[in-house]
């Protein structure tokens, strides 16, 4: 498609919507991979981050300050760098080579897990820190145990923690550099409905947009872009809504 004229850009947008509303299998499979990879990475990262944030808030151990520094650094890691490191780990000659996961969704999940665990931990930590000491003392004064104090803190920080998880999910969905390197943007051979290739293996909304755009298939890119932005926007709206309830 020639994208230099306004007319064909409009056609591209119309075609893009058509692709979405016709539930094109290629587009659906890409969306599915995005949600699967980023969703799984977010769940795993949350399962690590929340206990970690609590351990950092309620216990003292050697190397705690170093770990906090590591988390703060991790919050701003460039995705391509994480992608490169994970790639070097999972290639056959790498330390995780035996897992045989290079260019699979598992490797993509691993990369995004590394990318967003620090983000979820850092924001959760801030939310837990914001719970006043007087809340914990109130638990004790009402006869509560240390466990009760931890549970009460979790409850008080709940909105902040949910915001942290959604921030991680939003970041994962929008991320391209790491998953492109470790996943390889692979789709099966063949073509469906005249566009793109076969169903997605490791192709996500973001990586597909890069490849479809460079191939010149603007309407497919637009369809993918609309879905991506809707997903990210929904996550952000949800996060905003929860924050306002706080």
């Amino acid at each position: 498609m020639d994208i230099s004229s306004g007319d064909s850009l409009l056609q591209g947008i119309i075609k893009g919507f058509e692709l979405i509303f016709s539930l094109n299998p290629y587009i659906l499979s890409i969306t599915g991979v995005s949600i699967e990879v980023s969703g799984t990475a977010t769940i795993l990262a949350t399962l690590t981050a929340i206990p970690l944030a609590f351990a950092l808030s309620f216990t003292h151990f050697r190397g705690k300050q170093a770990l906090i520094t590591l988390i703060n650094t991790g919050m701003g890691l460039p995705p391509v760098f994480v992608g490169l490191v994970v790639f070097l780990m999972v290639v056959p000659a790498g330390p995780l080579g035996l897992l045989n996961i290079v260019f699979t969704r598992k490797a993509m999940i691993l990369a995004q897990y590394i990318l967003i665990t620090p983000i979820i931990t850092g924001i959760s930590l801030a939310a837990i820190k914001a719970v006043p000491l007087s809340i914990i003392e109130t638990v004790y004064t009402l006869g509560g145990s240390e466990k009760d104090a931890v549970v009460a803190t979790l409850k008080e920080a709940r909105f902040g923690i949910i915001t942290a998880v959604l921030a991680g999910l939003g970041r994962a969905l929008a991320e391209v550099g790491a998953i492109l390197i470790v996943g390889g943007n692979i789709a099966r051979t063949g073509s469906i409905g005249g566009i793109g290739e076969g169903l997605s293996e490791t192709r996500t909304l973001t990586t597909a947009i890069t490849s479809e755009t460079s191939k010149g298939d603007i309407s497919t890119s637009i369809a993918l872009g609309i879905i991506l932005i809707s997903l990210v926007l929904s996550v952000n709206i949800l996060a905003n809504f929860i924050q306002r309830r706080d």
């Binding site: 109130t138 638990v139 009760d148 409850k155 008080e156």
Partner: protein, 239 residues
């Protein structure tokens, strides 16, 4: 019911409490008086195990309490802070908290919460979010939260210092009711002299970390045993 012997507390080099000896009797309202900064809050926090004393002994019902028994003892007492801390939840959940962590069954919790809210004049507030209560309502809610599990000992840290006269009167009514209906022993830190006249049985005067006089209210107000207590009560003490 509660006795402290030679209790001292320092924060760094600063000695805040100096060899305090004090006995609190079952069922009384004991007023801990003294100007700001003399250590009233610190003493209450030690009695509530939120602070560990630097030195001295604490006895609860005739038995010395070591830190390891703190949970059993804490189950029977409650403290109200100068600034109430509210859980970000409904009034019901706030008041029910002490019962929930004690594993009380739902039906009993419902009944006791309603009773406690009635006692503090907050009937019908169950569903309201605690953070939307006014200052006076919040203070009354934390009273309900503290008494719902019928503690033997209630420690009150200047419970009316931030309130308007109408709410002060309500809180004093609540204190009298808790005492008469539940027989709860109450220790109240305050520098409000008229309030002490209205609600206390005995008074202790704390000055610069020393308990300079402990006496019945009548004695303290008519015939104080210490010149400094006399000055404090007459309001001659600058603070």
């Amino acid at each position: 019911m509660f006795r402290v012997e030679n209790l001292s507390k320092s924060f760094g080099n600063k000695e805040v409490l100096k060899k305090i000896n004090l006995e609190i009797f079952r069922g009384e309202v004991f007023a801990l008086m003294g100007p700001s900064g003399v250590g009233k809050t610190t003493l209450l926090r030690i009695l509530n195990f939120l602070e560990t004393p630097t030195d001295g002994k604490m006895m609860f019902n005739g038995r010395e309490c070591a830190i390891r028994q703190k949970n059993t003892v804490m189950h029977k007492m409650s403290m109200l802070f100068q600034r109430p801390a509210l859980f970000n939840s409904s009034v019901f959940n706030n008041v029910a908290y002490g019962l929930i962590i004690r594993g009380v069954d739902k039906k009993t919790i419902g009944k006791k919460v309603i009773e406690a809210l009635n006692l503090v004049g907050l009937a019908g507030y169950e569903k309201q979010r605690a953070l939307t209560l006014s200052g006076g309502e919040a203070q009354r809610m934390v009273f309900a939260r503290a008494i719902v599990y019928s503690p033997d000992l209630l420690l009150l840290d200047e419970p009316t210092s931030n309130l308007d006269p109408a709410n002060v009167a309500k809180i004093e009514e609540i204190i009298k009711k808790i005492r008469s209906e539940h027989g709860t022993t109450i220790v109240i830190a305050t520098h409000n002299i008229p309030q002490v006249r209205r609600i206390a049985d005995r008074v202790g005067i704390l000055l610069n970390g020393e308990l300079i006089e402990v006496n019945s209210k009548e004695k303290i107000f008519t015939n104080p045993g210490d010149a400094r207590s006399a000055a404090f009560i007459k309001g001659e003490m600058i603070y």
